[in-house]
C-alpha cells in the first residue's frame, strides 16, 4: 500500500519528516518498506514561456527557442521537437539540471548554436499521457496548468509528494486505505484526526433511484450488504490534476473521471467500487445470485470465463454482469457514450471471493481486498464519497436516494477489560489510565468494564488482541526483558540426535565434509543410478505443483544427490572430495499419502581413497556405535555399484545395514565423473536400533601372547574372509586375533590361478604362558581344519 503524504494532510494536519514518520509507524505496527519523492529526481527544471521559435540555420529539424524563465534575461534552448509555438508554457531543464533516471542536463551547442538546457517531453519527466491526457507523447509537453515562468515544474505538475510504501499484514485490511492509515497515523502520534463526512446534494429531477434500478440479494451470507447509487447525465472526461496526481502517487494509472473516482474511493476508504452502465442492465435489475453451472461471462479484461454454481455473480434480469468482488463484465462496462451509471459499493464474503478468484485464475485489486474480510459498515460512506466526487468534478448528476440491502448488521464484539490481566500477560506495568488513553486513540469504546472495538477492527476478539493494541501503542521497545520462572527441565539430545552428532564427529575427523542437498529430485535421477524399473524405491511422493521436474519428487535415496555433489566438485577441479550427508529419504507407505521419513547417511568420495578406505569408514561407524558381530559380504547385485567392488554389511541378526563400494562405471559416466568414485549408503535409522553403549571392563591379560605367521597357497577366488572365518572356527579359545598381512600372486612361485595369503595369529591363554608345544598343537588343529574345509595347505 502506497500512501501519499500530501493526501494524508486531508485527515491529519501535521507535517511529518518522512524518516521519523516511517520509523514511528513501523514501531506501532504498520511496517514501512520505504519512501520516495519523485520530485527528488527532478532538479532545476522550471516552467518556461516560449518567446520566439526560429529555424536553426544549419538544420532542417532543429528549432531555436528563446525561453522566458522568469528571470531578467531569457535563455536560448535548441529543441528537435516540432510542436513548440511562441506563447506556450513548457518544462525547461536548465543548465545543470537533473531528470528522472539520473539524467544530467548541461549547456552545450547543437550544430554550432548554443543551447542552455533542454525542453522536456512527458516521458523525460517520468510521466505518461494518463497523467496529463491533454499533452502529446511525441513532442514537448505544453503545460496547461495555472502557472508562470520560473515556477518549479515539480510543484506545478503535482510531483512534489512523498509516497510511503507500507507492508500491511493480512489481519489489517482496513489499513489498505488512506483513511485506515490516517487513523493509524493519528493514533501513533496521538494527534487529531479529521475524517470529513461526505455530503451529496443530489439532483432534483422528480425521480428517485427506484425509478432506475432495483436490487435483489439472494444470498445474504455471501453478500451481507449491497449499496447502490445512480448517477445520470454522466460526462466522461479526464479527472482534474489533483486527483490524477494522488492516484499516480499511490501507483494507480488515471483513466477517466468515473474510473478514477472508483479507484480514488477504493484507495481512500479501502472499499472496492464498481460502476455499471445502467442502459445495459436488462429489466433495470441487479440480482446478486449464484452463477448457473457453466455460466459464461466475459470479464473486463476481455477473457471469457466459465463459472460454477458456488460462485456469486451480479446479474441483471437475463445475464451475469460481474463476478462478485472480482471483476465486472464487458457487457455492462462504461464507455464514452455512457449516460447513466449505477455505482456498486458492496460487501462480499471473503472466503467465497477468494475461492472464486482462485478457481477462475483472476486475482484483482478488489478480490485481494475482499478476501481479507472488509467492514460492511464502510459501503455507505464510500458510495457517498464517490457521489460527492461526481458532483465536485461535475461528472454527472446524482439521483435522489440510496438502495442499501443490509439485512443483518454484524454483531458488536465485546471484550472484557482487565488491566491487571493484560499486564500479567505482557509482563509489563502499563498504567490502567494509559491503557484507557490508548483505547481512545484507537476508537475502541470502553463502557462498564467492557471494550467495544470499532467495526473496521474485526481482528480484535480477545484479551490477547487487546494486549497487542496496548503494547504496540505503548511501545514494543518498552517491554522489559525477564527470564521466565519455571520448574527446571533437563535439556538434552535424544538418542537419535546423539547418534547423528557422533556420526558427524567421526566423519569430519576422517576428512569428510557434510553437505546439504535438496530433498526433492527428478524421477530421471533414478535412471542415472541404474535403478531397476520395478524397484519399489521408484515409488516416490510426488509434488503436485513443483517448480520444475528437477524438484518434483521426494527422494527415496540420496545417492543421486551426493553423486551430483561429487560431480560439481570434480567440475571445479577439486583433486579430492570426501563428502557425506545425513539425508532424510521419503519411503512411500501403501495406502498413505505421507511417507516414512527415514534417516540415512550417504558418504561419497573420489581421489585419495579406495575401497578399503571406505570399508574402514563403515567399520569405524559401527564400532563407534558399539555394534559388533557385523559381517561384510560381496554384493554383485546393487545396481549403482561396480559388481566386483561392492559389499553389503550385515548385522549380527542378519539385517542389511550398509551397502558400499565403487560406483558403476556407467553411473560415473552419467555424472561426468572421470575418476573412480565411492559411495557408502548407511541405513542410519536401522543402525540406531542396534547401537549399544553399555560398557563393561574386561580384565587385561596377565600372560604374554605368542604370535605365529602362516602363509597358504589357495585359489584366487577364495576370499580372505573365508580363510579368516575358517581359522577362527578352528582356533579355539586360545586364538586371540587373526589378520591377513601379505597377499601375492606369482605364476612361477605359487602357480597359475593361485595366490599366497599370509596371516598373523595371536595366541594367548588367560591361565598361563603358552609353551611352544601348546602353540604348535593349536596351529596344527587350525591347519587340519583349513585343509578339510577349504583344501588349502601351508606354502612350501
Amino acid at each position: 500500500m502506497k500512501l501519499s503524504m500530501n493526501w494524508l494532510k486531508d485527515y491529519v494536519k501535521e507535517d511529518f519528516d518522512p524518516k521519523a514518520y516511517s520509523d514511528k509507524l513501523t514501531m506501532t505496527g504498520s511496517k514501512v518498506e520505504g519512501f520516495e519523492n519523485p520530485a527528488d529526481e527532478i532538479k532545476n527544471v522550471v516552467v518556461g514561456k516560449l518567446i520566439t521559435v526560429e529555424k536553426h540555420p544549419d538544420s532542417d529539424h532543429l528549432l531555436i527557442c528563446m525561453v522566458d524563465i522568469g528571470k531578467e534575461e531569457p535563455v536560448q534552448i535548441v529543441t528537435g521537437a516540432q510542436n513548440v509555438v511562441p506563447g506556450a508554457l513548457v518544462p525547461a531543464a536548465l543548465h545543470d539540471s537533473y531528470l528522472p533516471g539520473g539524467v544530467h542536463i548541461k549547456a552545450g551547442k547543437l550544430r554550432g548554436v548554443p543551447s542552455n538546457g533542454m525542453l522536456c517531453s512527458l516521458g523525460e519527466l517520468g510521466l505518461t499521457l494518463n497523467d496529463f491526457p491533454y499533452a502529446i507523447e511525441d513532442g514537448i509537453f505544453l503545460i496547461e496548468e495555472d502557472c508562470k515562468p520560473g515556477d518549479d515544474v515539480t510543484k506545478v505538475l503535482g510531483l512534489d509528494d512523498v509516497t510511503v510504501e507500507f507492508e500491511i499484514t493480512s489481519n489489517r485490511p482496513d489499513c489498505l486505505s488512506m483513511i485506515g492509515l490516517a487513523r493509524e497515523t493519528a493514533a501513533s502520534f496521538d494527534t487529531a484526526l479529521n475524517i470529513p463526512t461526505p455530503v451529496v446534494k443530489e439532483t432534483d429531477n422528480g425521480k428517485t433511484i427506484n425509478d432506475y434500478v432495483s436490487v435483489e440479494v439472494r444470498d445474504s451470507k455471501l453478500c451481507p450488504r449491497y449499496t447502490a447509487r445512480v448517477v445520470e447525465n454522466v460526462k466522461i472526461e479526464p479527472s482534474p490534476k489533483w486527483l490524477r496526481a494522488r492516484l499516480r502517487a499511490c501507483g494507480i494509472r488515471p483513466i477517466n473521471n468515473i474510473v478514477d473516482i472508483t479507484n480514488y474511493v477504493c484507495l481512500e476508504y479501502g472499499q472496492p467500487m464498481h460502476a455499471f452502465d445502467a442502459s445495459y442492465l436488462k429489466g433495470s435489475k441487479i440480482i446478486v445470485r449464484h452463477a448457473e453451472k457453466d455460466e459464461i461471462i466475459t470479464t473486463l479484461d476481455g477473457v471469457e470465463r466459465k463459472l460454477s454454481d458456488e460462485m456469486l455473480v451480479i446479474a441483471d434480469a437475463e445475464k451475469a454482469v460481474a463476478v462478485a468482488g472480482v471483476m465486472g463484465g464487458e457487457n455492462s462496462e462504461i464507455n464514452d457514450d455512457t449516460k447513466t451509471i449505477v455505482f456498486e459499493s458492496a460487501n462480499f464474503n471473503g472466503p467465497s471471493v477468494r475461492l472464486t478468484a482462485k478457481a477462475i485464475g483472476l486475482r484483482t485489486e478488489a478480490s485481494g481486498r475482499y478476501e481479507k474480510g472488509l467492514d460492511p459498515e464502510n459501503t455507505l460512506p464510500a458510495i457517498e464519497r464517490a457521489c460527492e466526487l461526481i458532483e465536485l468534478l461535475g461528472a454527472g448528476e446524482v439521483v435522489k436516494g440510496i438502495i442499501d440491502v443490509y439485512p443483518e448488521k454484524p454483531e458488536q464484539k465485546v471484550i472484557p477489560f482487565n488491566a491487571d490481566k493484560i499486564n500479567a500477560f505482557l509482563g509489563t506495568d502499563v498504567p490502567e489510565e494509559e491503557m484507557k488513553q490508548i483505547f481512545k486513540r484507537l476508537e475502541i469504546d470502553l463502557r462498564d468494564g467492557n471494550l467495544y472495538p470499532p467495526s473496521y477492527r474485526a481482528d480484535l476478539e480477545s484479551m490477547q488482541d487487546i494486549a497487542e493494541e496496548v503494547i504496540r501503542i505503548h511501545g514494543y521497545d518498552l517491554i522489559p526483558t525477564t527470564n521466565f520462572k519455571a520448574e527446571a527441565l533437563v535439556g538434552r539430545r535424544n538418542a537419535k540426535q546423539k547418534t547423528v552428532n557422533l556420526i558427524d564427529e567421526l566423519l569430519t575427523n576422517d576428512g569428510y565434509y557434510e553437505v546439504q542437498t535438496f530433498s526433492f529430485i527428478s524421477p530421471k535421477y533414478y535412471d542415472n543410478i541404474l535403478m531397476p524399473t520395478d524397484s519399489p524405491l521408484r515409488k516416490s511422493i510426488v509434488i503436485s505443483n513443483p517448480l520444475g521436474e528437477d524438484t518434483s519428487i521426494m527422494r527415496t535415496t540420496a545417492v543421486p544427490s551426493v553423486l551430483e555433489v561429487l560431480a560439481t566438485n570434480r567440475r571445479y577441479r577439486n583433486k579430492n572430495a570426501r563428502i557425506y550427508e545425513n539425508a532424510k529419504v521419503y519411503i512411500t507407505k501403501d495406502g498413505e499419502d505421507q511417507p516414512e521419513e527415514r534417516m540415512s547417511t550417504v558418504i561419497a568420495a573420489y581421489g585419495d581413497v579406495d575401497f578399503y578406505d571406505m570399508k574402514g569408514v563403515c567399520e569405524n561407524i559401527l564400532d563407534m556405535l558399539g555394534i559388533s558381530g557385523y559381517e561384510f559380504e560381496a554384493n554383485k547385485e546393487a545396481p549403482a555399484f561396480h559388481p566386483g567392488r561392492c559389499a553389503s554389511v550385515y548385522s549380527r541378526d542378519g539385517q542389511r545395514i550398509m551397502v558400499f563400494g565403487q560406483i558403476h562405471p556407467t553411473v560415473q559416466e552419467n555424472y561426468g565423473l572421470d575418476v573412480e568414485s565411492y559411495v557408502i549408503v548407511c541405513d542410519t535409522e536401522l543402525i540406531m536400533t542396534l547401537e549399544n553403549f553399555d560398557k563393561h571392563y574386561k580384565a587385561l591379560p596377565k600372560f604374554p601372547a605368542s604370535e605365529r605367521d602362516l602363509a597358504f597357497v589357495c585359489d584366487k577366488a577364495l576370499t580372505s574372509g573365508e580363510i579368516k572365518k575358517a581359522i577362527k572356527k578352528y582356533g579355539g579359545k586360545m586364538l586371540e586375533s587373526v589378520e591377513v598381512f601379505d597377499i601375492f600372486e606369482d605364476e612361477e612361485k605359487v602357480g597359475v590361478g593361485k595366490k599366497s595369503m599370509a596371516y598373523n595369529l595371536v595366541l594367548r591363554s588367560p591361565e598361563k604362558t603358552l609353551s611352544v608345544e601348546d602353540c604348535d598343537k593349536a596351529v596344527a588343529k587350525i591347519l587340519k581344519g583349513l585343509e578339510f574345509d577349504l583344501g588349502i595347505t601351508l606354502r612350501g
Binding site: 503494547i471 527470564n483 535424544n494 513443483p546
Partner: protein, 339 residues
Amino acid sequence: MKAQLEAIKAEALEAIAKAEGAQDLENVRVSYLGKKSPLTAVLKNMGSLTPEERPVMGALGNSVREAITNALEEAKANIGKLEMAKKLEKETIDVTLPSKKCKCGKIHPISAAQKEMEEIFLGMGFSIAEGPEVETDYYNFTALNTPEFHPARDVQDTFYITEKVLLRSQTSTVQVHVMEQQKPPIRVISPGRVYRSDAVDATHSPMFHQCEGLVIDKGITMADLKGTLLLFAKQMFGENTEIRFRPHHFPFTEPSCEVDVSCFVCGGKGCGVCKGEGWIEILGAGMVHPNVLRMSGIDPEEYSGFAFGMGIERIVMTKFGISDLRLLYENDIRFLSQF
C-alpha cells in the same frame, strides 16, 4: 722430584687442552695416569725419599693426579656437549614442510549454525523436537489458526502432495505435535527443513531451514519472550548484542513481533551488512494464540506461552557475509572448508 711432578702436570694439562675428541682424552688418560705413565713411575720412586719428604711428595703426587683427573672429566663433559650439539645440528629438519595429518572435514555451515542454536537452548533446558516434513494441512495451517480460505494461506506458496498433504512451509507445525503429545511445562526447539514455492536465486530457495521454539507454562509473559531471545542473541552473536521487537502479525501468535538484532558487524552504527539500519531482522515471534492452545488441548486461561521461529540460512549468510544462497546448496569443498 717435585719439578718432575710439576712438569708432568703441565704436560698432561696441555695434552688435555689439545685433545679433540673422546679418543684423544682416553689416550691422554692412559699415557698420564696409566700403569706405565711417568706419574706412576715417579710415584713408584717414593721409596727412595726420606721419611720427611715422603708425605709431602705423596700429597703433591696425589694433587697432580687429581688435577689431571679433574681436567680430564671436565674436558670429557665439554666434548660430550659439543658432540651432542653436532649430532643435533645434523638432525635438523625443515619444520615448514607440510604436515602429515589427516585433513579434517567440517560440518555444513547450516548444521554448524543449527548446532550452535541447539547448544544454547539445550543449556536453557529446552529439548529438541522433530516432526514430519511431509505434513497434513491441519498441522501446517488449521491448527496454527489459519483455517481454510484464510488469506494467510496465500502468503507462503506451499508445495502440495494432495489436497490435504503438503511439504511443511514452516517448522511451527512441530509446535502442534509437541502440544498434542506433551502437557505443560513445554520447552522445545525444533530445527529442520521447510519448503516454499520460490524459484532458486541469490536470496531464495524452494527448500531451507528454520528453527522453531516453544515455551508453555503457567504465567509465561511477553517480557519472558524478550528475555529469552535476548539471552539467545547474546550467545549467538556476541555479548554486546541488543534486540528490538517490532509489531507484526502471524496467525498463530498474538501479540506478534518481528525481532531485530543489533548488527554484529558494525554494532549498530550502520554498515553494508545491515544496509545502514544498524539492525538485522532475524526472527518472528509472539505469544501463542489462544486458539492454537485450545486446539491442541491446552487451556489458555491456565497456561500461556511464547513461540519464535528463525531462518537458519539467513543467519548463516549474514554471520559469514555470504551474498548468494546458492553457494550453500552447491557444496563446493572450497566453500565448505571455510567454515
